[in-house]
């Protein structure tokens, strides 16, 4: 590496560092404002807190009480985790079945379910929420079934693509050894699906955790998940508690950042796989 290249590399690294700072700044600004009194935020969001504007943890306490943040976190959690598990288990079974049992029926099921991916939510939001109401799915348990139906498109598509790449010989020899299809799926196929299961889990978890409109329409009145709770804080324009809003934004971001730090590699890989295939 000659001198000119070294200088040009240094310039690039400096540029990227500045850019990274710009990318982080919005979150840091919100964090800074979450410690300021609510009347010192809208007009001077770029000023550091001083002795006059410092509010300590008041915004956090206030906001948590106002929107019931712990409850919202609890609802988000008990909806996201079981929904993801349900989706992974059942759509992998479906995908395996319709890939291995070839025929018109399987093909029709595959195309109809996969086609649902392109339908925007607004197309079905009214009729689906009425349906959920009629069938008593408008509670944290019932919404799992709703996510199962809405997540089926991407999940079946990704599992089916993966199943096609598994050599048939493994399954055939297990069948000759006396495995029935249930044993075959759970002891042989499902373990092989592990990498794609992780991808499907991450894609669905990110979507369901951050989803706003679907849970708002179906269970929003009685069960506020985190996005619904943040939006609820909005109230009338101008009359809202900016301090509480800042604190709640931070509390909404923290779990996501922890999740990201813990499984960054899987997340990035999963998101790319989802993009390229979807």
């Amino acid at each position: 590496m000659n001198n000119r290249e070294r200088i040009s590399d240094t310039v690039k690294v400096i540029f990227l560092t500045v850019l990274a700072a710009v990318f982080l700044a919005p979150i840091l600004i919100v964090l800074m404002n979450s410690f300021k009194g609510q009347f010192f935020i809208s007009d001077q969001p770029f000023q550091l807190p001083n002795s006059e504007t410092w509010a300590g943890l008041n915004n956090y306490i206030n906001g948590m009480v106002k929107i019931g943040f712990l409850k919202a976190f609890y609802y988000s959690f008990i909806i996201t985790v079981p929904s993801v598990l349900t989706l992974v288990l059942f759509t992998s079974m479906t995908a395996w079945y319709i890939t291995r049992v070839k025929g018109k029926v399987s093909q029709a099921i595959f195309y109809i379910i996969v086609a649902s991916m392109i339908v925007p939510f607004q197309m079905v939001m009214f009729t689906m929420s009425k349906m959920a109401n009629i069938l008593s799915l408008d509670n944290p348990l019932g919404i799992i079934i709703i996510y199962w139906g809405f997540g089926a498109g991407l999940s079946v598509f990704m599992f089916a693509g993966f199943v096609k790449s598994i050599p048939l010989e493994i399954e055939e020899s297990a069948t000759i050894d006396g495995c029935n299809p249930v044993q075959l799926f759970f002891s042989i196929v499902f373990p092989v699906l592990k990498p794609i299961s992780i991808t499907v889990s991450i894609l669905n978890a990110m979507w369901i955790w951050n989803d706003y409109l679907l849970p708002y329409l179906v269970i929003g009145n009685n069960y506020r998940t985190i996005p619904i709770a943040v939006q609820y804080l909005q109230g009338g324009y101008g009359s809202r508690d900016m301090g509480a809003l800042m604190a709640m934004l931070i509390l909404a971001i923290v779990p996501i950042i922890i999740f990201y730090m813990l499984c960054q590699k899987h997340i990035i890989k999963g998101v790319v796989a989802g993009a390229v295939k979807g």
């Binding site: 759509t91 079974m93 049992v101 607004q122 009729t127 934004l249 998101v271």
Partner: protein, 282 residues
Amino acid sequence: MERNLKKYFALFALPTLTAFTIVFFIPFIMGVYLSFTEFTTISNARWVGFSNYIKAFEDGSNFLGALIFTSKFAVVAVITINVFAFSIAMLLTKRLRGTNLFRTVFFMPNLIGGIVLGYIWQLIINGILINTLGVDITFDAKYGFWGLIVLTNWQLIGYMMIIYIAGIQNIPEELTEAAKIDGASRFQTLFRITIPLVMPSITICTFLTLTNSFKMFDQNLALTAGAPADSTTMLALDIYKTFYGRVGYEGVGQAKAVIFFVMIAVLAFIQLYLTRNKEVEN
């Protein structure tokens, strides 16, 4: 094995099929039907033919305005996001120090939900506007427009960057080396070798940003909620407002939703066609 497995339809395929039919398929068919009726609840639907579709484009309806705003937004968003994402991806494939850390930082905003994103940027954009011009984001549609552009860039650059990095890394190094030896300038290498070879990634990213822009709802609701006077309302938010904001307009809302669906479906088919064509060429 296949014949054996066939008997297990009820266990393997039926549960997902049932959930899908109840929460998606039936509501979808009902939605298409209701777009031709007048209703407030499903049970009182009355057939009105195409009048909802006509009403969707009448003066009092903001649908056409929302379509124009969304289209402008989509064009600017697609160009800015992809140019920035591709440029950053180029820098991050040069084996510089700290590449992994930069990648981590740039990708992170993508994980944050739309509602939270909207309020983060509302604070920052209002802060800038209040301190320079003394107004806030609801003052003029152009503030909302550029606010949404900045927000979407922040959210999606990292995501598209990752796809571009994968594409660039797939280019065999011999090709760029050979071009260098043959005396090609950096500019020529970029336009004659790199860009043609990452064309599949460019197609994917263009359509991802395009459909993302068209379907945007949460960010729009949180950042401006359409203010001022619905001039920053995008298609998805307009449909929502027609449904839940005006009694008696549910049918019109459903008709708008059907049109919206057809537009997204056309985009999806164009994408499918383009990517299929590429596969044949290779």
